[in-house]
Symmetry: C2
Amino acid sequence: MDRVTPQAKDMTVLRSLPLFKAVSDATFARLAESVRFDRYVKGETIVRQGEKAQWVIVVLEGYVKLSRTAANGEETLIHIFGRGETIAESVAVLGDNHTTTAEATGPTRIVRMPAHVVAQAARDAPELALAILSESSAKIWALMDEIEALKAQTADQRVLRFLLSLCAQESGPVETRLPYTKGVIAASLGLKQETLSRSFARLKSVGVEIDGRKATILDPRKLAQEIERLNRIV
Amino acid sequence: MDRVTPQAKDMTVLRSLPLFKAVSDATFARLAESVRFDRYVKGETIVRQGEKAQWVIVVLEGYVKLSRTAANGEETLIHIFGRGETIAESVAVLGDNHTTTAEATGPTRIVRMPAHVVAQAARDAPELALAILSESSAKIWALMDEIEALKAQTADQRVLRFLLSLCAQESGPVETRLPYTKGVIAASLGLKQETLSRSFARLKSVGVEIDGRKATILDPRKLAQEIERLNRIV
DNA sequence: CGGCTAGTTGACTTCATTCAACGCTGGTGG
DNA sequence: CCACCAGCGTTGAATGAAGTCAACTAGCCG
């Protein structure tokens, strides 16, 4: 982990985050005072399961994976956070302990604010409390999406959904980079790496080309159709 | 659905709910004014996916299942709420639309408060906003638990966990009632009814006896051991 | 160059689903 | 009062999707 001295442009980025959108200048200024910027490399732990939540963390760059380690040592990936997303905001504000571990999946930049400062600000400024609630609510939807996918969709359908989420446009050929390693992608979709690999191979037939970290999708609409088609078969 | 006139004792129950624990008498009184009590029978819909959230709902009695219906008409059970739990609190306060449908799994009593009243109260009284945040946070943990179970555990392990959650005591023989039909239990665990039935049959060997709605567990500790043992095999 | 990590591929296994038949129970109407 | 039906649950046999195990390749860093 590397502490970084904040730059002026970082503050403007910060101000534009969803968490601070509806917040007054005064409240923002108060929070900005105690803000800290950190840089992590792949595999470093950002927060550890069981520790008391001391910080509210926002991802500026890179991807952070949340996972939970069971008594037997097995680790389960719960969710992945990207740019602009907030980690542990509710836990930190309420003063609870982390129930998950957060780890950088690659080079990552984050911002952290002391929990007690945010908690006090939330008490003083209801619009901040509501903004945090809004973040938590978004997280609930995302988790519900995940549960729905795990319960109702096959491996190929989940992979297709994931690929679709990478496409910036709705049609035409799209070329992107996979945001993290295939092992992490597999875990995030509730699959084994081998299964993901086979799925990618199968999906060549609907215009998906994966070459290392480079992903080429001939036509996103075709992927959506394929998800539908796989539903019908069942 | 049946509207019920509130009784004095209902108000004391209400006051003791987690949502109102930390709330001042003044704030509570304000909310209590516009409270409404409703009674539902099995299968009735309480809130519908896609509708604007108009109410904050608290379950007083019975169980409510949250589910999501995909484009192809398939319904996936996301989560089940019981006594004292709050439904759609964040969505209602933020003025968003419901992303899930809530349905009574049996005879159910609920309390509802108009969303705008709660939203205004949350703006005026930060302790209410934080209480709602606390509820949302609890919901996030519960959903993460579910994801972990779906990704990392077999059918038998999930069934064992569920049975353990029904046990009031840690040891000795426990006798309880299954809280809802086996079909609903199966769906909540991400299983088919047939699979649950077979699982129950297998679990006789660790002292689980299911007879209709009546469940007898010889020794909860043995169930916990069995979950562990099933992990080791893999 | 060797040693790592990430990823692929093949053969085999297994857990859960599907499909289908059947059993039990409680309610309804003749 | 009984007959019949619907809803809920069980059981068996066959199928299939994903996991496991293992061997192997490609790229990368020191």
